[in-house]
Symmetry: C2
Subunit: 344 residues, 2 copies
């Protein structure tokens, strides 16, 4: 009772303040409470994400650059945020907000979404998303558990939260993401019907959300601890790896690198990834430039959210030989433009 009542008061205050634009003192007078209480209720509403402020970038500021990247690499959409700085943490936040906004109004029908919640940026995105009404039925994890238990917990929570936001059922992959050996992987899977089911669901995915990893080990992931070792990373680097998408290592041109590591990963396969109807990646920052180019050049994704500097890098580093769309003309291209809505 009291909680419901408190909640309603909070919402009422939030509405009076934000949508009716009343001052806190006036609200306090009207509701017969103190101004400090109003202030506190508002703060409460804020971090219960009852109120949310969104900063809508009106039309695409970097439209031209976006189109050039799109046409060079044959991507269907590129979204460039002009980040407030090139600091990694701040950049991640900007990318996350942009991706969230983008996701929030997907125009196409989505039944199954695969999500890589172990990407830091994607977790951040999930944190800042608003609930959305979709017809999405399932949210499936793309990879098994990686890293220390704390991270696994975050990841599971993110997946669960994402599912709640979209009104879908979460499908977890609660299995070590990197097995110690091929045999170990078989063993793990054979005894885990849940994991088998999850992996099967990755066969038909409408939208997959991925991060893009560099060729170094993320500091959050202790090497060896439920993850590849430094040695294993060094090995694939020797084979030419410049980065990875869902732990599939890629060379500079985006070709997948065959190595025994492929057999150790429990998660979405190359084929499953490529067969997803839409494949969105979010990544940026100088550290990941080469990895991102590999991911787009290899056609592993079709929509990219990144920063201006990375986009610039993608344009400047000569388009690689293989499956790039058509000619090199970076002109108007085939890409559709999106809704603009600036006002007088």
């Amino acid at each position: 009772m009291t909680d419901i009542d408190g909640q309603r008061l909070m919402i009422k205050v939030a509405r009076l303040y934000h949508t009716h634009e009343m001052r806190q003192t006036d609200i306090a007078k009207r509701l017969q409470i103190s101004q400090s209480r109003v202030s506190r209720l508002l703060a409460q509403a804020e971090d219960a994400s009852i109120v949310r402020t969104v900063v809508a970038v009106p039309q695409h500021v970097h439209a031209e650059l976006e189109e050039r990247v799109e046409s060079i690499y044959g991507l269907s959409e590129v979204h460039i945020v002009d980040a407030v700085s090139d600091d990694d943490a701040e950049l991640a936040k900007d990318l996350a907000y942009t991706m969230a906004a983008l996701l929030h109004d997907v125009a196409f029908e989505v039944r199954t979404i695969a999500v890589t919640s172990w990407s830091k940026t994607l977790r951040l995105m999930i944190d800042v998303m608003l609930p959305m009404r979709t017809r999405c039925k399932h949210v499936v994890e793309t990879l098994g558990d990686l890293g220390p238990p704390a991270l696994q917990h975050d990841t599971a929570r993110s997946t669960q939260h994402f599912a709640a936001l979209t009104g879908a059922q979460p499908v977890f992959l609660r299995t070590p993401g990197v097995a110690a050996s091929r045999e170990m992987k078989e063993l793990l899977l054979s005894s885990d019907p849940h994991a088998q089911k999850a992996l099967e669901m990755l066969d038909s995915v409408d939208l997959v959300l991925v991060g893009i990893g560099a060729d170094k080990i993320d500091p959050d992931l202790r090497p060896g601890d439920n993850f590849f070792t430094h040695e294993q990373f060094a090995h694939v680097r020797e084979l030419g790896a410049v980065g990875e998408v869902c732990l599939h290592f890629l060379d500079a041109d985006g070709n997948p690198i065959d190595s025994e590591l492929e057999d150790l990963v429990v998660g979405i396969t190359r084929e499953q990834l490529k067969s997803a109807r839409h494949r969105w990646a979010v990544a940026g920052g100088a550290r990941k430039h080469r990895a991102i180019r590999a991911a787009v050049a290899g056609g592993w994704i079709d929509t990219l959210v990144t920063d201006a500097a990375t986009a610039q890098f993608l344009v400047e580093s000569a388009p690689p030989a293989p499956q790039a769309a058509q000619g090199t003309t970076p002109a108007k291209g085939n890409a559709r433009r999106r809704t603009a809505a600036s006002k007088a």
Copy 2:
């Protein structure tokens, strides 16, 4: 140049403030400008609706009442806002925000939307909408011009704005909405191919947005001035009218009232209205109770956004004889529930 630059600065400041949660003084220091400028840029961003704060009502507070209205009148969805007060202006704002939020995540495919921008609440809704990516192609007005030129201008601007927000083409009905006589109407239409085209497009509408009018003349609309006269209103009241939807007058049970006024209106026909795939209405307030009941009882709409008091009235006033859905059991019913997303 300067404008673009100013715009980008504004956005940058808005992002630093809202998404990166920096203090104004820190932003000022970082960007080498004064705190007051930061403050003003933020205000600017606010009323350019670059930033928008939304108050998301978590789960439906009035879920039970909603379901009862739904099942009694056979509506597919009812959304109740618990308005901050019963003052008409404040109520309209609440209704508008709710409708906007609702519209923003329509899950179904929409190609053509018909909009009644001469409803005050709907205009307000359009003002507070955010741009949305849809596949909507056309936004068609449901009625011709009503009232004084200033209102006509507002209406046109709203329609245009709504189209811009949805990325659709606006289709105007720039013709008097109420003709002086049947002959006059014929004459007006025969010489106006644009209007003819617009009226034709109303044949196949995916979503129509309407207000609900009481049986009194709205103060914004001077009687006679491009609108019905007091005498005409009195006449339909004598015939039993309690309200209207798109200028189609209805009796207490929601049956349409045949009168010569039907022949004077240039706008969506009864048949066109009923044939629209989805029909959403927004209205509330004691003044309109009877009109709203007529609209829902007559099956003129399938989704209603209203206030708690009105919903209560709808439940209490005995369900009318005709085409109400099934039995009288106001229990759980057939209605689906929507996404909830409350957190710990």
